[in-house]
Symmetry: C2
Subunit: 405 residues, 2 copies
């Protein structure tokens, strides 16, 4: 008997379940494992033996699960201690895996999950435990190193581009239009905010200014830019990443909210409202609206990218195939071979190289003024948002299926 287990961790995406189904699909063809288990709520659930048998679920349910947004196996933000400081935790986990005859462990997640994969594979190697640990990339933030992009990002970018185009039209209907500010996620990196450059009308970007964490935010320059553009065209559309900082690296939104999450990351939000108040106080205009996309941008399966869904499926398949071949301590990565036509290939990278590192939005794709992105960025984003899934319906809304309820 040789089984495997897959679990999900960190913030959800629209395509994270697609990776699980890709993995199930690969095992159907390969028959590498007798059973594919699903760990509910990541490591946290597995430590509580919250485990289900995914291979016994009907094809129909799995197909609905594949096109369901958010972590359908549940998630966690559980961080493993360092191996030296708490080996009991590792031992408990390994014992549970052994109890279920699990020889391969798959974790779908971002930097922190790759840290988990790196630690577990190291622990297994040191203790001569024959269990493989493979990471499957996932994050809307697109901030993982050694992969061209991450599954989940394309769908978020598609929702952002679509929503920017649509809200721009809504915010432009009057003779006296105002200033519109859209706040995207992106604590450390500006990939999500930058993807708003996708929104074009008559071949021209509808966004006037894009502010990213990678470019130091200068309040006075911001107000000068906005004032001038508002005088020129009587409307301004601004996209801002929640994580913008000043030249000293201090979060612009820090004064609004200073709580921290478990990993010590500052919990942000509200920077759009901060900019709104800045503009109003400066006297440019009082007609300013600010909108936060919030979690909508990471769960909008109805507006997901089919390309993204396909790639998420593929990295799941490859994870299983590589584990069956004996690989461990690796993450499946996507390499872009060509932009037009868009083609990718896949490879493996060491999960400890990926863990705890951040892939920033390239400075050469930011304009000199630090308030917009280049055409190279547009060309990078465009193929990632291609096509839509054809969703099954129930009651005239998408039919979704999860296993963590």
């Amino acid at each position: 008997m040789s089984n495997c287990i897959v679990a999900q961790s960190g913030g959800p995406t629209s395509v994270i379940n697609s990776s699980v189904v890709g993995l199930l699909n690969a095992n159907k063809k390969l028959k590498a494992f007798d059973k594919v288990y699903g760990g509910l709520n990541g490591i946290e659930g597995i430590l509580n033996k919250n485990i289900i048998d995914l291979s016994s679920i009907s094809d129909e349910e799995i197909d609905h699960f594949r096109f369901t947004p958010s972590s359908g196996l549940g998630s966690c933000r559980y961080k493993l201690s360092d191996i030296d400081s708490c080996s009991q935790e590792y031992e408990n986990l390994i014992n549970i895996l052994k109890e279920y005859d699990i020889t391969s462990f798959f974790y779908v997640g971002g930097n922190d999950s790759m840290d988990t994969i790196a630690k577990l594979s190291k622990y297994a190697r040191i203790n001569k435990i024959d269990i493989k640990f493979i990471g499957i990339p996932k994050t809307i933030d697109n901030d993982l190193m050694f992969t061209d992009h991450t599954p989940g990002f394309g769908s978020a970018a598609k929702f952002i581009g679509t929503s920017v185009l649509e809200t721009y039209l809504d915010a432009s209907v009057y003779v006296n239009n105002g200033i519109f500010i859209l706040e995207t996620m992106g604590r450390d990196t500006g990939w999500l905010a930058a993807s708003s450059c996708l929104a074009k009308l008559d071949n021209k970007s509808v966004v006037d200014f894009i502010y990213l964490p990678e470019s130091a935010f200068d309040k006075d320059q911001f107000l000068r830019d906005v004032k001038q553009r508002f005088e020129e065209q009587n409307k301004v559309y601004i996209v801002v990443s929640e994580g913008i900082r000043d030249k000293n690296g201090k979060f612009i939104s820090e004064l609004q909210c200073s709580s921290q999450d478990k990993f010590g990351h500052a919990q942000l939000g509200g920077v759009g409202n901060y900019l709104k108040n800045l503009i109003i106080e400066s006297g440019i205009t009082s007609r300013v609206k600010s909108l936060e996309l919030g979690i909508l941008q990471r769960c909008a399966m109805h507006c997901a990218s089919y390309t993204d869904l396909t790639e998420a499926f593929k990295v799941g398949e490859l994870a299983l195939i590589h584990a069956a071949e004996g690989e461990t301590g690796k993450m499946v990565a996507i390499n872009r071979d060509s932009n037009e036509p868009y083609t990718v290939s896949y490879s493996l990278v060491d999960s400890d190289k990926v863990a705890n590192h951040v892939s920033y939005f390239p400075s050469e794709w930011i304009n000199e003024a630090g308030n917009f992105v280049t055409e190279e960025a547009y060309s990078y984003f465009k193929p990632l948002i291609k096509d839509l899934p054809n969703l099954a319906l129930k009651g005239n809304l998408p039919k979704y299926k999860v296993f963590n309820q």
Copy 2:
């Protein structure tokens, strides 16, 4: 030479351009008017002769315009004075219409627009001016009297239902889930918030509580409800209309923002955040998120209801047909003949009956506790959100076309 003009007014919807294209289409078949003009930015633009010839625009552009959200002819919030107090304004408008040989005037809008239609038709009748004035209903709020529902509402409801389902999944992934609050538009009526009952998973509504302006909001009862549900299931999903009031009719959000728009309506927003703070202060949990859908709910063409788009087209067609038959001072209304199968018929109602009245969410569709809606409401909403449009694409995003840029 006999021409007509169509213009749009008030807040945009996803399907308001569809009504204009329906009208153009009817004239193509009927050839009732030599030219169909478009007034840019409603009455305000027409008074400035901001007028384009819609009948000279290519079929291809019109087809993209049809599937473009928001008022593609621009909008205004211009309110005509009473006939007695300022007949100069009426005279100016009539002179411009005569200059363009316009014999029929169509206004796509809500209550205030029907007020305009009522006033103009009355002025024309008194002064023996042979120009017809017909109203075409439009509002996401679904608050017009004498029509089963309004074009624009179905698409907003579809976006709300879809987003509720998707954000519910996102907000439920952890072992320790929190409380999620979604704020919809709806200043006077709760139709939009109530439509969140469409979101079901495994035949069960995912929303725990829905708070509407039609049901007096009691802070203490709210906290008791939320506390109990949170203890039962470790997560609560709440939908709240921006316009909820206490038993004295005072807006709950009034302390947050007290500005007023031109029509004397209080400008609301932020009630979701208010409830969030209430919950946190009460000590139920600190894990509370609040999200405002804002203008996303009225411009999300990518998630529009095809049924809604079709009906919007139809009321535009019928407006032109009825004007050509000599009707004036009327609005085209939709009557629901059957729920399953869903069938509707159309009729005319006096615009002065519609003007300045409000269709409230029926009290018999609100549960006894005042915190949810009945299955009758679900059956009413469900057919209105059927099917999606197949949008033309450009750069992997929807291709939109407007005339007010």
